[in-house]
């Protein structure tokens, strides 16, 4: 038997297990998925937890529900990857050999990277919403908070879902308006970027939305530490921002096993070809999603588009043919803007988000780079699509490659 080993049973690993089980002969290929967690998290739902829109049970399901028949699923920590020996060693000493390896170990927040962040204020006045625990602790805090300085800070880039921090402050604005507290809550958006977003057209539109909602943006702020006594953010160039409650998007890194196995860059993201998705160091190792050092968003849509490319290229590799698929950096993100509206952006390595209609040119129903009710419904509907279509690797009516049709230059 030949062996395909998939490290990580999140969005990328699960989709690939489904797609490859469909492609590879059962008599010839054994497929195994390893993950340290039994639970699958619907990560786009974490954003909705602090404001009580979702409860924890809305964002979790057993991983086993989504791993197809004919795929082994092992719940265990990975101790190390030994690519020279084509094998992976698990924490309990079990050795898994492979012919091909897919790394889908994702990214994680590392709040310990920033002095003071996980100190005495952690989960009292400082919260993250990138973990269910953090998001739920924040929901409890908001239940009784009477107002003050609310500061959202992005410690460094890259982060998972780069629009989530924007959505958070849009939601916070609507939340406090609805509770009649908005005049007592000052909202600041403190970012290491030069604006609301990296790409100019989207930065302009989203920056205008922040202004309209009276959210103060403090750009080019690169966090060094938290002054826990003074309750202040301090940047490397000695600027200070005081807070009563801090929502932190901590530094992100790849999985520890990537670093300890020597496969990553200095942030622990696997070095991989941004078009073929193959590891730059090992021919039989491929990468999908947040785990890679791809210069595009760390987001579920990216994983979804990459899965089609990776399936095709993995089959090429197995059959010793030249690669026929090339990933273009396509990313597609709904942006919740509060009060039942949302925006949508669609872009790739070369083309920044542009206004227009999506996915059908001239028809939509979704509006690109504009606030509409339909976009909000799209995001809500997406949770159902995620569990029932996306994870199972089924076809979606969106092209893997970005198209210019329907976009306005």
């Amino acid at each position: 038997m030949k062996k395909l080993l998939i490290l990580g049973g999140g969005t990328g690993g699960t989709i690939m297990a489904n797609k490859m089980r469909h492609e590879l002969e059962r008599e010839e290929w054994e497929i195994t998925v390893v993950d340290k967690e039994k639970t699958h998290f619907y990560q786009p739902g974490f954003l909705f937890l602090p404001f009580g829109h979702y409860k924890k049970q809305d964002v979790v399901k057993p991983k086993n529900n989504f791993i197809p028949n004919g795929v082994n699923f092992i719940v265990q920590l990975i101790d190390r990857i030994e690519p020279e020996n084509n094998q992976v060693v698990l924490a309990d000493g079990v050795v898994l050999r492979y012919d091909y390896l897919i790394i889908a170990t994702g990214t994680r927040i590392v709040p310990e990277e920033t002095p003071g962040l996980t100190g005495p204020l952690w989960k009292k006045s400082i919260f993250d919403f990138y973990t269910p625990e953090g998001a739920i602790a924040l929901a409890n805090f908001f239940k009784t908070w009477q107002g003050g300085e609310l500061v959202l800070n992005i410690a460094d880039m890259p982060i998972k879902c780069p629009v989530a921090p924007l959505e958070f402050v849009f939601f916070a604005d609507a939340f406090f308006v609805e509770r009649g507290l908005r005049n007592k809550v000052n909202i600041s958006y403190v970012t290491p970027m030069s604006g609301a977003f990296t790409k100019p057209r989207a930065a302009k539109v989203l920056g205008a939305l922040l202004e309209e909602k009276n959210i103060h943006i403090i750009p080019d702020f690169y966090l060094e530490r938290i002054d826990t006594e003074g309750k202040k953010l301090v940047s490397y160039d000695e600027r200070e921002v005081p807070f009563d409650v801090l929502i932190t998007i901590p530094v992100h890194k790849g999985d520890e096993v990537i670093e300890s196995s020597g496969l990553g860059d200095d942030m622990g993201f696997v070095k991989a070809d941004k078009h073929t998705l193959q590891s730059v160091d090992y021919k039989n190792v491929f990468v999908i999603g947040d785990a890679g050092n791809f210069p595009t968003s760390k987001a579920g849509s990216v994983v979804h588009f990459q899965a089609d490319i990776l399936t095709e290229n993995l089959l090429c590799a197995i059959e010793s043919r030249p690669y026929t698929a090339s990933y273009d950096g396509h990313s597609n993100c709904y942006i919740e803007t509060g009060f039942g509206k949302g925006a949508l952006i669609d872009f790739n390595y070369d083309t920044e988000p542009l206004p227009g209609l999506f996915p059908l040119p001239g028809i939509g129903p979704f509006g690109l780079l504009q606030e509409t009710r339909m976009n909000h419904y799209g995001k809500l509907l997406f949770r159902w699509i995620y569990w029932h279509i996306l994870l199972k690797g089924k076809e979606m009516p969106i092209d893997t490659k970005m198209t210019m049709a329907g976009k306005k230059l």
Binding site: P158, I159, T198, K199, Y222, D266, K271, K274, N293
Partner: protein, 103 residues
């Protein structure tokens, strides 16, 4: 696409003044771009520029944190060398594209 003359050499730059062909870069050009940014270029500055150029040529992500991990300088020192917006200034002087820190 426009062009600009630094140290007697014509180079291609984009609308924000970043060089678009990093092979045209020389230390003399770096010195003149630095002067435009009110920076007096030292060997330390150049070491950072060389580090960034090397990362860029390998297609690796360029971040402030990666400079801090480079062993050349810590992040605080990086801010002191290139005050205000260190990554943007350092990239401009190193003759590489403005880092798309992330999207």
């Amino acid at each position: 696409m426009s062009q600009k003359v630094f140290a007697g050499t014509t180079v291609d730059v984009n609308e924000e003044g970043y060089m678009t062909d990093s092979t045209q870069w020389t230390k003399e050009i770096a010195k003149e771009i630095a002067t435009e940014e009110n920076i007096d270029l030292t060997d330390k500055h150049l070491a950072v520029c060389e580090f960034l150029r090397d990362k860029q040529s390998k297609g690796e992500n360029i971040t402030i944190r990666s400079v801090g991990n480079s062993g050349i300088i810590d992040i605080k020192g990086f801010y002191q060398l290139f005050p205000g917006a260190p990554m943007k200034k350092a990239a401009k002087i190193a003759g590489i594209p403005k880092p798309a820190s992330c999207v």
